[in-house]
């Protein structure tokens, strides 16, 4: 058991446990706190995979922005005392989930993945920037579209919740 394996199993156990807590807990606020813990575990998995920049961005965006926004909205909608009940569909949904998990696992375990040596971990920030802003086959247009999407979302959110 090398350090990578220990980190993978520990982070994976925390991740699956807190994701199950999000689904199973009846207290919505505690479910939100466990969701933040799950985001932290995913950031740790990114770092264990050698994507250091993405791990930092995960903490900044998911924990810092999305987690805080979700917890704030749980507190603002005074529906907490109703808990988080399931609907009538849940036996069928659990069956569907088991089928999906089984078929994905079957596909993963029976695909001959090309045995490639894992990339040696190196700082990804500079490589990421030069990949996005590469003039041949880069991602400049998607980046601009993402900026436009964010602007549209800001305007849309203001229109939706603004006082009329």
């Amino acid at each position: 058991m090398d350090f990578h394996a220990v980190a993978f199993y520990a982070l994976g156990a925390v991740l699956i446990g807190s994701a199950l807590a999000v689904v199973l807990l009846n207290n919505v606020f505690r479910a939100g706190l466990f969701l933040v813990l799950a985001f932290f575990a995913v950031a740790g998995l990114f770092v264990s995979l050698g994507a250091d920049f993405l791990g930092a961005v995960q903490v900044l965006i998911y924990v810092g922005a999305i987690g805080v926004l979700l917890l704030l909205s749980i507190m603002l909608t005074r529906d907490v005392h109703h808990g988080s009940p399931g609907n009538r569909l849940w036996p069928g949904v659990v069956l569907l989930g088991a089928l999906l998990l089984g078929s994905i696992s079957y596909a993963v375990l029976n695909t001959p993945w090309a045995a490639k040596a894992p990339v040696t971990p190196s700082p990804t920030t500079a490589a990421l920037g030069s990949r996005i802003f590469d003039l041949q086959g880069g991602f400049i247009l998607p980046l601009e579209i993402a900026a436009l999407v964010l602007l549209a979302v800001v305007i849309g959110a203001i229109v939706l919740v603004g006082e009329e």
């Binding site: 994976g12 991740l15 699956i16 995979l49 993405l54 999305i66 529906d79 849940w90 569907l96 994905i104």
Partner: protein
Amino acid sequence: MSVGLEHYLLLSALLFTIGLVGALSKRNAIVVLMCIEIMLNAVNITLVAFYRYGGLDITGVVFALFVMTVAAAEVALGLAIIFSLYRSRETVDVAEVDLMKW
């Protein structure tokens, strides 16, 4: 046995399934949104795992960044819709929102 691509793919398949079951079976709209975030995170784990072990080089990380952008946009807009719903109907229960149900 060292940890490889399959381990990360199976972990993210399990995470995606948990998120899917929660998103389809919960009645609180905010919990449904949280489960969708779990599913998006599972997809990001596969993309980064393919960056490390598979044929996707740094492009996998670029895709994960775009997924994060869309996830942030989605949660902001989703919460705005839930807020305006709560303001007019005093509920966040998706079973009680049946105005457009045929």
